[in-house]
Amino acid sequence: MIFDVAARSFAGKQVLIPVEELLGDCTGSRMPEVDPTHLNFDSAVRAIDSCPTSALRFETHNNSRHFVLDYGDCTGCGKCIEASGGALRVATRLTQCGIGRAALVRRWNLDTGEELTQGTEAPERAAQQIRKLLGRALNIRQVDAGSCNGCEAEITALTNPYYDLERFSIHFVASPKHADMLLVTGPVTRNMEEALRRTYEAMPSPRLVVAVGACGCSGGIFAGSYAVTGAVDQVIPVNGYIPGCPPTPAMLLTGILHVLGREHARS
């Protein structure tokens, strides 16, 4: 029987997705993106009114009105896409993964329709140190600090034959003492706060922390609940943020490689 199973497996066709197709892909995540040609004041108002989180909002700077889309707060519910009449659409590419919290926030000038540019950030010192010490190898410890298990399902998928995280020399390890990176999901609950802090403290330096999902990035739809402390960065220092509810395996991979400064990596 064992041989039948093995033979069956080897007879199947290769399903591994090339890295070029994975990086930046967000198909199936339901994340929105702005179509600047359809963005105007009316469509922006409709989109903002429909948003059940605070992912969409207005800001005024120097008498010009800005339309703000914060991916860290977005759950991809799709209400803005329904309401905005074309100003927002479903994204298939999203490179805003594994970057600083501020960089998850994108802004458009509503009077000119132009996006306001942000500076690109260099990989952080910890990431550079890890690369210098370990080359391409990276050990990840995953901690669920209160998630709904949606992010866990997608993180687990990273190890399946389609994504095969091991081809990037990245492993999930059982102990924070073996880990270079902590991948944290969930709004940090009051009951998990202490456990998360202790897990972080058990890691050797240099170490990286990546907050995963809308809840990890901003507290998501649970921000403000009596039982929730808040986003991951309210408890431990965070180096990179991966948005999504949940982020797809491709977004997770993009984010992890981005934090390491390996976003141009080949498998």
Binding site: S9, R30, M192, E194, Y226, T248
Partner: protein
Amino acid sequence: MSTAISRSDRASGLADAHALLRAGHTRLVSIFGRIDDDGFPWVHYLIDVDGHEYRHFCQQVQGAIPSATDITPAAAWYERELHDLYGIPIHGHPNLQPLVFHENWPHNLHPRLDTPVRGEYRFLKVQGKGVCEVPVGPVHAGIIEPGHFRFSVVGDTVLHLELRHFFTHKGIEARFEGIPVSSGAMLAESVSGDNCFAHAVAYSQAVENAFGLSVPPRGRALRLIGLELERMLAHIADVGALCGDVAFAVPAAYTARLKELLLRASARFIGTRYWRGLSRPGGMVRDLSDENLRELGIRLAGTAEDFAKLAQMILHTPSVLNRFESTGILKKEVARALGVVGPAARASGLKLDVRHDHPYGRYRTLALDVPHLNSGDVLARARIRTDEVAVSARLIADAIREMPSGAFSAAVPWQSTAEGFSAVESPRGELLYYLRIRDGRIQRCHIKSPSFQNWPALPMAMPGNIIADFPLINKSFNLSYSGCDR
């Protein structure tokens, strides 16, 4: 009958509920609390009678209430939660320790009470020659949710297992309070992320039942496809994980591949990997084209066929049988006493399935066969899952072939006031939403999660097994931590 919920508002609601539970042929579905407009606490009991009718009892309470644990042990965790969240003292409860709030919870913080009662938590101390305690969690070795397990062992043999959960308690029920009915489905999807569609449908149906709405046939058929696909995903992943736990790596990888194939097909043809953002009160958020459904159906049928052959091989491999057979037995009497639901109940000889017992949506028009087994071990739970994948695949194929045309959603009177229930057979078992709605906003939402019901059964399947089999036994139940903790 799906919505046959008879409600008793009599002042003796509590005594009536206890009497009904004592009478037999009944199963405790849920106990929960509520604070009324005048600030008085109420206790609600939900009971399943003869496996085909839900009954609802409620009563305003002052001071202590008698425990139902001597009638049915299934009441134990519900009453502890009632005590924690509403401060209602429970007379005669054998173990009224804190369930929801842990030691490091801020002392004066409570969702409803000014002066919360806080007890100290003590694990049962098993004493004797050679007895050791093994604490595990909340942070586990794998990519899984947090929870604490305290084993008392002699050598490798487990004498006692005690659970300490609620690490992922997010106050979700309180989070529902005050939000518009139209926003609730999104929150329901984040109660248990891998059963998100079942939660969204259960929530939507509760609103529909409250307002007496009927979902158009196309909406019902689309929901069935989502619900059964979610069941397939869960069961395929579970069987794979069971293989992983007995170091049978090739089928573990193969099932992971089958699951991903289904997720990618959903992403491509439906636009979402886990069917999030699709169900809402009244029906579906958007229509799915017949063309896309056919394409999805082709991939589903192929996957189900592949999985059936693979499962056949797995369950005939001697090294697998050696680990699965007679491991982690949950006896029928224990399962019944604890009100166990879902695949775990069906593997222990209890023929419980909401789709069959309290049919809803499209299931009302279907003749559904409920597979069940009697041995109650890991093997039985694995077999139930493999059998159910085949049933789900057939239901989806039928629904796609006979897809009704027309509307996919009904209009909802968003500003109304009403009360409603709905139960759904999620991949983990009976999932129930109770809603009170006033002027289009949610006043109270109670979620009866199958995991909350089933977790207390896991320690009953452990004694006598070796500690190394715990991951396997735990996985064979595959309960949600977040769904339980809410």
